[in-house]
C-alpha cells in the first residue's frame, strides 16, 4: 500500500513538471503529452482513491512532496462592473455553448433595490451537495479541494443539477462546440471538448493550475474582482497582479460565503459592498 502511494506521488510530481514543459514549450510533442496525460491520470486515480478511502489515503496527501495546495477564490463584489469578460474568457477557453455559463455573472438586487453584479463560478464546496447524489460516482473532490466531473463516467441523470444549490452545473444538451487539439488530455481537470449527454461545470481551470497559470476568468477580469489563491500558503492574487494575505483580507472585508445556511462550506468567498446579502434567503420573508 505504502509503495503504491509513493509511486503515485512520484507520478504526480512528474505530471506537474511535464505539464509545465508541455504548456510552456510546445504542444506538438506527443511523447511529452503522453507523459503529461499519464501523470494527470495518476492525479485522477489518486483523487478517486482519496475520495473513496478517505482514512487510508490521507497520508498520501501529506507526504514529503510538500503541503497540498487548497485552491480558493475570492470575489470582490465592490469592483464588479458586470462586463462578463470572465464568462466569455471561460467559454472561449473551454469551448462552451453560449448558455453554458460556468462562470455566470448574475444581476442581483440589493436591499435598497439597486442592481449589482455577482459572478458565480463553481463554489468548490468542502461538503458538496452534488457529489453524494451521483449514482455512478462521476463527481469527486480532488485533494486540492476542487470538485470535478468525470465525463467518462457520467451517465447524465442530472441529479447533481438538482442537488447543487448554486445552479452551477450545465448539461451538454447537444453536441459540444468542437475544440482544436488541447495542451491537456480530455480529463476531469480539463474537460475540453465537452461530452454530449454529460454534465459540465466550472473546474477553476484545474489543469492549468500546476503550470502556475491562473484560471481564465481571473486572468481576464479587467477590474481585479476575482482573486485566486491557496489556503495553505494563505495567499491570493488577482488578474491585475495584486496579492493579498487571504486570512486578513477576508477578515478585514467581512467576507461571506454564498448560502452559508446550506452547510456546503464553499471555498469561494464574497466581499460584499453595499447592502448586498447575496440573497441568503432563509430569512427573506
Amino acid at each position: 500500500m505504502t509503495t503504491r502511494h509513493e509511486n503515485e506521488v512520484v507520478a504526480e510530481e512528474d505530471a506537474g513538471r511535464d505539464e509545465l514543459t508541455a504548456a510552456a514549450v510546445t504542444i506538438g510533442r506527443r511523447g511529452l503529452l503522453r507523459a503529461a496525460a499519464l501523470g494527470t491520470l495518476g492525479v485522477g486515480v489518486l483523487g478517486a482513491l482519496t475520495e473513496t478511502l478517505v482514512a487510508a489515503a490521507e497520508p498520501a496527501t501529506t507526504t514529503p512532496s510538500g503541503p497540498v495546495k487548497q485552491w480558493c477564490m475570492i470575489i470582490d463584489l465592490r469592483l464588479c462592473n458586470g462586463c462578463k469578460l470572465c464568462t466569455t474568457a471561460c467559454q472561449t477557453a473551454h469551448y462552451l455553448h453560449e448558455d453554458q455559463t460556468w462562470m455566470n455573472v448574475y444581476t442581483m438586487t440589493n436591499a435598497a433595490g439597486e442592481d449589482y453584479f455577482m459572478p458565480r463560478p463553481c463554489q468548490m464546496c468542502e461538503d458538496p451537495a452534488c457529489v453524494p447524489v451521483c449514482p455512478v460516482g462521476a463527481n469527486f473532490r480532488t485533494p486540492e479541494g476542487l470538485t470535478l466531473v468525470d465525463q467518462s463516467k457520467c451517465i447524465g441523470t442530472r441529479i447533481c443539477m438538482n442537488a447543487c444549490p448554486y445552479d452551477a452545473r450545465y448539461f451538454n444538451w447537444s453536441d459540444p462546440v468542437p475544440a482544436p487539439r488541447q495542451p491537456f488530455k480530455q480529463e476531469p481537470e480539463w474537460p475540453v471538448p465537452q461530452v454530449k449527454g454529460t454534465v459540465g461545470k466550472c473546474i477553476e481551470c484545474a489543469a492549468m493550475l500546476p503550470t502556475g497559470q491562473l484560471p481564465e476568468c481571473v486572468t481576464n477580469c479587467p477590474m481585479g474582482v476575482l482573486y485566486f489563491g491557496d489556503l495553505t500558503s494563505d495567499a491570493a492574487v488577482n488578474g491585475m497582479g495584486a496579492t493579498v494575505k487571504i486570512s486578513t483580507f477576508l477578515a478585514e472585508n467581512d467576507a461571506i460565503v454564498f448560502k452559508e445556511e446550506y452547510g456546503t462550506h464553499p471555498r469561494v468567498y464574497y466581499i460584499p459592498g453595499h447592502g448586498q446579502d447575496l440573497n441568503n434567503n432563509s430569512s427573506a420573508s
Partner: protein, 468 residues
C-alpha cells in the same frame, strides 16, 4: 372439478353471457377476434414511432426533447413516476384485497397483475430516454461504479427488486391455471397455436401436480409474496421520491413527498386497473364475471385514495405557501396562480374534484361513470406529476425571486414540449394495451383456479362473494 357456474348476482342482464368460467377465461388464448391483428398493427406502429423519436434524440442530444439548463428534469421523469406509479394498482387489487379476504377481487386479479406486469417495465424503460448518455447505462448494474449514497441508484435497486416481485406475483397464481389450461388443451385440435401454448404451460407448471398439499404450499407462497409486495411497493414509490427530495430546492425538499408518491401511485394505479378491467370486459366478454358492482367497488377504493391525495396536496401547498420562505412561497405561487396554474387546476378539477363528485352520487356511480372517473384520474395524475417535477426544476436558485421584488419575479426556466418526448409518451401509453393483448393471448384472462377455489369455499361455508 370441471366447470363452475358463478351465482347470477348483480349481473349485467342486457347482453347474452357465457357463464362457463374456463371457456371464458381461455377464449382470448384460443380465438383471434377480428379486431386483434389490426389493433396489434396500429399499436406496434405507434410504439415504433416512439422508438424512432428516441433514436433521433440519441443522435441529436437531450435538447431535442425540450430540456435546457433552466429545466433539467421534466416529462421523462414525470413519465417514469407515472408509469411506475400505475403499476401499484396491480399490487393493491391483488395483494391487499387478497390479504383482506375480499373475495370479489378474484375475477380481477389476473387483469390487475398483468397491468402491473406491463406498466412497471414500461416505466423502467423511461430511465433510458431520461439519461443523457444511455450507452453507459450498464454502469448502474456494474458494482465498481455504484455510489451507494445516491438516491437514483437506490431507485434503480428498488424498482428492479419490485419488478422481480411483480413477475413472481404474476407467475405463482398462474401455475394452477396453466395446469388447468394444459388439461383443457387435450380436447383441442393440436394446431401450432395450441402446441406453442402447451409447451409454455408445461414450463410454467413445472412439477406442480395440483395435489391438496401442493395447492396449500402454493397458496402459502402467494400469501407470502402478497405480504411482501406491499412494503416493497411502498418503498419503491418512496425511494422514487427521494431522487427529487434529496435536494435543497423548494418543492422537491418536502418530507411529504414519499407519502405523496405512494398515495398517488395507489390512486392512479387503481384507476388504471378500472380502465384495463373495463376494456378487457368489453373486448373479451367477461360480463358474467366482471359486473357493475366490481366497478363501483373499485371506484370507492380509488376515491378513498383520491381523497387522501387531495388532502396531501392541500397540506403541502398550504403549509409551504404559508410558511413564507422565499423559495417555497414563490414555488407555491407559481403553481397556484402563476406560470403552472393551468395544469395544476386541470389536475384539481379533473383528478381531484370530478372523480369525487362522480362517485358521490348514485346516478353517476355507474360502470361508465367509474370508467370516466378513472380516465380522468389517470390523465390528471400524469399532469400532476408534471406539476410536481417541472416547477422546482425550473426554479432560479441564485437570484432568488423575493430579492427581485415578489414571488412572480426571478428568471424561471422554461420547459418546451417537443414532438420527441410526446411521441415517446404516446408510444409508452400504446405499449400498455399492446403488451396486455399479447399477455392475454398466452395466459388465461381470469384467475380460474382462484375463482374455483373461492367457489368451492362458498359451497362449503356460504360466504362466496365472487361476482357479487
Amino acid at each position: 372439478m370441471t366447470d363452475v357456474i358463478i351465482p347470477n348476482v348483480g349481473r349485467d342482464q342486457s347482453s347474452p353471457q357465457e357463464t362457463d368460467l374456463r371457456a371464458v377465461a381461455m377464449r382470448p388464448v384460443l380465438e383471434t377476434p377480428r379486431w386483434w391483428w389490426p389493433s396489434i398493427g396500429v399499436l406496434t406502429v405507434i410504439v415504433l414511432g416512439g422508438i424512432a423519436a428516441w433514436i433521433y434524440q440519441v443522435a441529436n442530444g437531450l435538447g431535442t426533447a425540450g430540456y435546457n439548463d433552466g429545466a433539467f428534469w421534466a416529462i421523462y421523469e414525470a413519465n417514469l413516476v407515472t408509469f411506475i406509479g400505475v403499476s401499484y394498482g396491480g399490487a393493491v387489487v391483488s395483494a391487499i384485497l387478497r390479504l383482506t379476504h375480499a373475495a370479489w377481487r378474484a375475477p380481477l386479479t389476473r387483469i390487475a397483475e398483468a397491468t402491473a406486469l406491463v406498466t412497471l417495465p414500461i416505466g423502467m424503460v423511461f430511465i433510458i430516454p431520461h439519461l443523457g448518455d444511455p450507452s453507459r447505462i450498464w454502469e448502474l448494474v456494474w458494482p465498481p461504479y455504484w455510489n451507494l449514497t445516491s438516491p437514483i441508484l437506490w431507485d434503480f435497486f428498488a424498482v428492479s427488486t419490485y419488478l422481480l416481485a411483480t413477475i413472481v406475483f404474476f407467475y405463482l397464481p398462474l401455475v394452477p391455471d396453466a395446469a388447468i389450461a394444459l388439461e383443457r388443451f387435450d380436447d383441442e385440435v393440436p394446431s401450432t397455436r395450441v402446441k406453442v401454448r402447451k409447451s409454455l404451460y408445461r414450463v410454467l407448471v413445472g412439477r406442480f401436480g395440483g395435489t391438496p398439499y401442493e395447492r396449500r404450499r402454493l397458496n402459502g407462497a402467494i400469501g407470502l409474496i402478497a405480504i411482501m409486495i406491499i412494503p416493497m411497493a411502498v418503498s419503491v414509490h418512496s425511494v422514487l421520491s427521494f431522487a427529487f427530495a434529496s435536494s435543497s430546492r423548494a418543492g422537491y425538499m418536502e418530507t411529504i413527498l414519499p407519502v405523496y408518491f405512494v398515495v398517488a401511485a395507489l390512486y392512479s394505479g387503481v384507476a388504471l386497473v378500472v380502465l384495463t378491467v373495463a376494456a378487457s370486459r368489453k373486448l373479451f366478454h367477461l360480463e358474467a364475471f366482471v359486473t357493475p358492482r366490481h366497478f363501483v367497488r373499485l371506484g370507492f377504493l380509488m376515491i378513498a385514495f383520491g381523497a387522501a391525495y387531495l388532502y396531501l396536496t392541500f397540506t403541502e401547498y398550504l403549509i409551504d405557501g404559508y410558511s413564507g420562505t422565499a423559495g417555497a412561497s414563490a414555488w407555491v405561487y407559481q403553481i397556484v396562480a402563476g406560470r403552472y396554474a393551468i395544469p395544476f387546476w386541470i389536475y384539481f378539477v379533473a383528478g381531484g374534484i370530478a372523480p369525487l363528485f362522480i362517485m358521490m352520487f348514485r346516478r353517476f356511480r355507474t360502470t361508465s361513470g367509474v370508467v370516466v372517473a378513472s380516465f380522468l384520474v389517470v390523465a390528471a395524475l400524469w399532469i400532476k406529476r408534471l406539476v410536481i417535477v417541472i416547477p422546482p426544476a425550473t426554479e432560479p436558485l441564485v437570484n432568488s425571486p423575493l430579492a427581485k421584488g415578489g414571488v412572480l419575479a426571478g428568471n424561471w426556466g422554461t420547459y418546451h414540449f417537443t414532438w420527441v418526448p410526446i411521441s415517446i409518451t404516446i408510444a409508452a401509453t400504446a405499449a400498455i394495451p399492446l403488451l396486455l393483448l399479447v399477455v392475454f393471448r398466452f395466459v388465461p384472462i381470469l384467475s380460474m383456479a382462484e375463482m374455483e377455489e373461492l367457489a368451492e369455499g362458498h359451497e362449503e361455508s356460504g360466504t362466496l362473494e365472487v361476482g357479487a
